[in-house]
C-alpha cells in the first residue's frame, strides 16, 4: 500500500511542523514567567558571579530567539537540560518516570475501547429497550463524574471500606522484583517469567486506569450507538437487508465498521485527555509516574523540566494520532486516497 506510506510520511512532515510550533509556544510561555531563571535555578544564596556565569553558560543573556536556538539544538540531541529541582538531566528523569505513566495510559486508553464498542452496539441493537436504557442512564452518570472524583471514590471504597484491590503504594507489591526491560511492568513481569508478579502489577493498574477510562469509555459508547443508529437507515444497509443477508451479519459486518470509524478517529484526542487526567490520578493513587515530577516542575518553575515534559507529551500525542489515522485508513478505504478534494 504505497499510498498509505506516502500519507504517513506526509503526516510525519506536518507532525514536525506542529512540534516546532509547540516548542515555540511552550518555550515562550515558560520564559514569560516573572523572575530570573538563573537565580531560580541556583537558589537565593548563590553568589552573584556564579549566577552570572550560569546565565552566560545557559545563554540567558541572549535574545529569546537565540536562546530558543540553543535550546532546540540540545533538544534535537535528546538533551533537555538540567532539572533545577532534581539537579539531574531532564531526559534521565523522563526516562525514569515516563514508563509508569505510559503504562497507565495504555491500559486506560486501549482495552476500554472494546468495551465502548460493545456497549455502543448493544445500545443500538436494543434501542429503547432495557439494555439500552441501562447503558444510557449509567453513561449519563459516569460521564458527569470527573476523573479525579472517580479516583477519590475508588480510593474511599476499595482503599478503606472494601480493601480488595491495591490502591496506594505504586506499581507493585513488596516482595516482587521485576527487571526493567520495556518499563511496562506487566510486560516486564511476563518477560522475566513471573506471572504472579504480572498479575500483581495488573491489580495495581486496575483502579487508576479504571478511573481514567470510565468517562471516555461511556462517551465512545454513546458515539458508537448514535452512529450505528444513523447508519442503520442508510441505503447500503437497506440494500443488503433486502437481499436477504441475515440481520446479525448485516449488523456485525456491514453496519459496525462504518459506525466505529468516527469513534476510532477521535481516540487520539481521548488519549491526550487521559494523559492530562493521569496527572491527578497518579497523585491520588501515589503512582510513581510523571505527575509528581511535572507538578513539582511546574510549581518550582523548573523551566527545562516543564519544557521537557510538554515536548515528550506532544510527541506521544502526535504519534498516537498518527497511529489512529493509520487505523482509520485501514478501516476506511476512502481515507487512503490523498485528501486533495
Amino acid at each position: 500500500m504505497p499510498s498509505l506510506l506516502v500519507t504517513i510520511l506526509k503526516r510525519l512532515g506536518w507532525a514536525s511542523v506542529v512540534l516546532v510550533g509547540l516548542s515555540i509556544l511552550i518555550f515562550s510561555l515558560v520564559r514569560i514567567i516573572p523572575g530570573d531563571p538563573a537565580r531560580l535555578a541556583l537558589g537565593p544564596t548563590a553568589p552573584e558571579e556564579v549566577v552570572e556565569r550560569y546565565r552566560e553558560r545557559m545563554h540567558y543573556n541572549e535574545s529569546l530567539p537565540v536562546q530558543y536556538y540553543f535550546w532546540l539544538r540540545d533538544v534535537l540531541r535528546g538533551d533537555f537540560g538540567l532539572s533545577t529541582v532534581t539537579k539531574r538531566g531532564v531526559s534521565q528523569d523522563l526516562g525514569e518516570f515516563m514508563p509508569a505513566t505510559l503504562e497507565l495510559v495504555i491500559w486506560a486508553g486501549i482495552p476500554p475501547i472494546f468495551f465502548a464498542l460493545l456497549l455502543g452496539v448493544l445500545g443500538a441493537m436494543y434501542k429503547n429497550r432495557w439494555p439500552d436504557y441501562l447503558i444510557r442512564f449509567s453513561s449519563y452518570i459516569i460521564i458527569a463524574t470527573p476523573t479525579f472524583v472517580w479516583a477519590v471514590l475508588f480510593l474511599l471504597i476499595f482503599g478503606y471500606w472494601l480493601p480488595i484491590l491495591p490502591s496506594i503504594g505504586g506499581r507493585l507489591s513488596m516482595g516482587f522484583t521485576v527487571p526493567p526491560v520495556t518499563g511496562l511492568m506487566v510486560l516486564d513481569a511476563l518477560i522475566s517469567g513471573q506471572p504472579d508478579a504480572a498479575w500483581d502489577a495488573f491489580a495495581h493498574l486496575l483502579l487508576p486506569s479504571l478511573a481514567l477510562s470510565l468517562g471516555h469509555t461511556m462517551q465512545e459508547a454513546r458515539l458508537t450507538r448514535s452512529y450505528m443508529l444513523e447508519n442503520g437507515g442508510k441505503d447500503y444497509i437497506t440494500m443488503v437487508t433486502s437481499q436477504g443477508v441475515p440481520r446479525d451479519v448485516v449488523n456485525r459486518k456491514f453496519l459496525l465498521r462504518p459506525s466505529v470509524i468516527p469513534t476510532v478517529s477521535i481516540m487520539g484526542l481521548d488519549i491526550a485527555a487521559i494523559f492530562g487526567n493521569a496527572f491527578l490520578v497518579e497523585t491520588i493513587f501515589n503512582w510513581p509516574g510523571m505527575s509528581r515530577y511535572a507538578m513539582n516542575a511546574i510549581l518550582g518553575k523548573d523551566i527545562n523540566a516543564v519544557c521537557g515534559v510538554v515536548m515528550v507529551l506532544g510527541v506521544i500525542f502526535i504519534m498516537t494520532n498518527l497511529l489512529v489515522d493509520v487505523i482509520v485508513m485501514i478501516l476506511d478505504p476512502r481515507m487512503r486516497q490523498s485528501r486533495s478534494k
Binding site: W14, V17, V18, L19, G21, L22, L25, I26, L29, V30, I32, I33, F137, Y140, I141, I143, A144, T145, P146, T147, F148, V149, V152, L153, L155, L156, G159, Y160, W161, L269, A272, A273, F275, G276, N277, F279, L280, I284, A294, M295, I298, L299, K301, V306, V309, V310, L313, G314, F317, I318
Partner: protein, 287 residues
C-alpha cells in the same frame, strides 16, 4: 408574527421534551441557577461561606443542624457547597462566552479561505493547541500565573477555543461552496456581511448546542484545576478544593469528600442532559 413566534417556541419545547430525561436536566440546571443566584441568602449559615471558625463544631458528622456535616474548622459543608455554585456557573459561562467567539473567528476565517495560506497557518496553530493534553496546558498556564479563579478561567479558555475553531471551520468550509455565499460574493457584498450575516446564523445552532454540552466539561475542568490547588483560593469555597482537602481525612470524615463530589456529579449531569435537550431541539431543524 407574534403567533408564529409562539408556534416556534411550542415546537422547540416539543422537540426539547421529546426525551423526558432532558426535562430533568432542565430542572436540575434551573435549580442550580436558582441556588447560585440566591447563594448566601438561602444557605443555613451564610457566614460559613467565608473565613469563619467554630472549633467547637469542627469535623462534625452529618446531623440535623448540619445535614452534610462540618469541616475541620467547623464550617457547615452544605452552606459552603451551595456557596460555591455561583462562581462555578459563572466560570463556565465566562469561559464559553470568550472561547466560542474567538474560536468562531479563527475557524471561520480559516474555513472561508480553505486551501489558502491563512487556512494552513490558523488551523496548524489550532492543532498545536490541541496537541498539548488539555489539563497539562491548563496546569502550566495556571501555575505560571498567580493561582486564582480568574487565571484558571484564562487557562481553560486558552485550551477551549480550538474546539470552537474546529467546529466553525467545519461549518464554514462546507458553506463556502453554497450558492448563497457564492451569490453574495458575486454581487459585491463585503466580507463582514458574509461572515456575520450569512455564515454565523448557520453556525449558531451548532455552536449553542456545543456550548450547552460543554458547560459540564468546563465545570469538570474548573473543578479539576481547583482540586490541583490552582483555582479559587481559601477561604472561598470551591468544589474541587473541598474534595482535595477532604481526601486527606478520608475514610473517617467521608462527608468532606462525598458531598462535594455528589454536587459536582449532579451539576454536570444536569448540564449534560440539558445540552442533549438543546441538541435535540436545534439539531433536526430542517424539514
Amino acid at each position: 408574527m407574534d403567533e408564529s413566534w409562539k408556534e416556534t417556541l411550542k415546537r422547540s419545547w416539543l422537540k426539547y421534551s421529546e426525551s423526558k430525561i432532558t426535562v430533568l436536566g432542565l430542572a436540575i440546571v434551573a435549580g442550580f441557577v436558582f441556588l447560585a443566584l440566591l447563594g448566601e441568602r438561602i444557605v443555613p449559615y451564610p457566614e460559613h461561606i467565608g473565613s469563619f471558625v467554630d472549633f467547637a463544631n469542627a469535623s462534625g458528622a452529618p446531623s440535623g443542624a448540619h445535614p452534610f456535616g462540618t469541616d475541620l474548622i467547623g464550617r457547615d459543608v452544605l452552606s459552603r457547597i451551595v456557596g460555591s455554585f455561583r462562581n462555578t456557573l459563572l466560570m463556565g459561562v465566562i469561559v464559553l462566552c470568550i472561547s466560542a467567539p474567538i474560536g468562531f473567528m479563527v475557524g471561520v476565517i480559516a474555513g472561508y479561505n480553505k486551501g489558502k495560506p491563512v487556512d494552513t497557518v490558523l488551523m496548524r496553530l489550532t492543532d498545536i493547541f490541541l496537541a498539548i493534553p488539555p489539563l497539562v496546558l491548563a496546569l502550566a498556564i495556571a501555575s505560571v500565573l498567580e493561582p486564582n479563579m480568574t487565571n484558571s478561567m484564562l487557562a481553560i479558555t486558552v485550551m477551549w477555543w480550538p474546539w470552537y475553531a474546529r467546529l466553525a471551520y467545519g461549518v464554514s468550509s462546507s458553506l463556502r461552496t453554497e450558492n448563497y455565499i457564492i451569490y453574495a460574493e458575486l454581487t459585491g457584498v463585503k466580507l463582514p456581511h458574509i461572515i456575520f450575516r450569512e455564515i454565523l446564523p448557520n453556525c449558531l445552532s451548532s455552536m449553542l448546542t456545543k456550548m450547552t454540552l460543554d458547560m459540564g466539561y468546563v465545570i469538570i475542568m474548573g473543578a479539576t484545576l481547583s482540586y490541583a490547588g490552582l483555582g479559587e483560593q481559601a477561604p472561598k469555597p470551591a468544589l474541587g478544593s473541598m474534595i482535595s482537602q477532604g481526601v486527606k481525612y478520608m475514610p473517617e470524615q467521608w462527608w468532606l469528600t462525598v458531598f462535594p463530589a455528589i454536587a459536582i456529579i449532579v451539576l454536570v449531569l444536569g448540564f449534560n442532559l440539558f445540552g442533549d435537550g438543546i441538541s435535540n431541539m436545534l439539531g433536526t431543524d430542517e424539514s
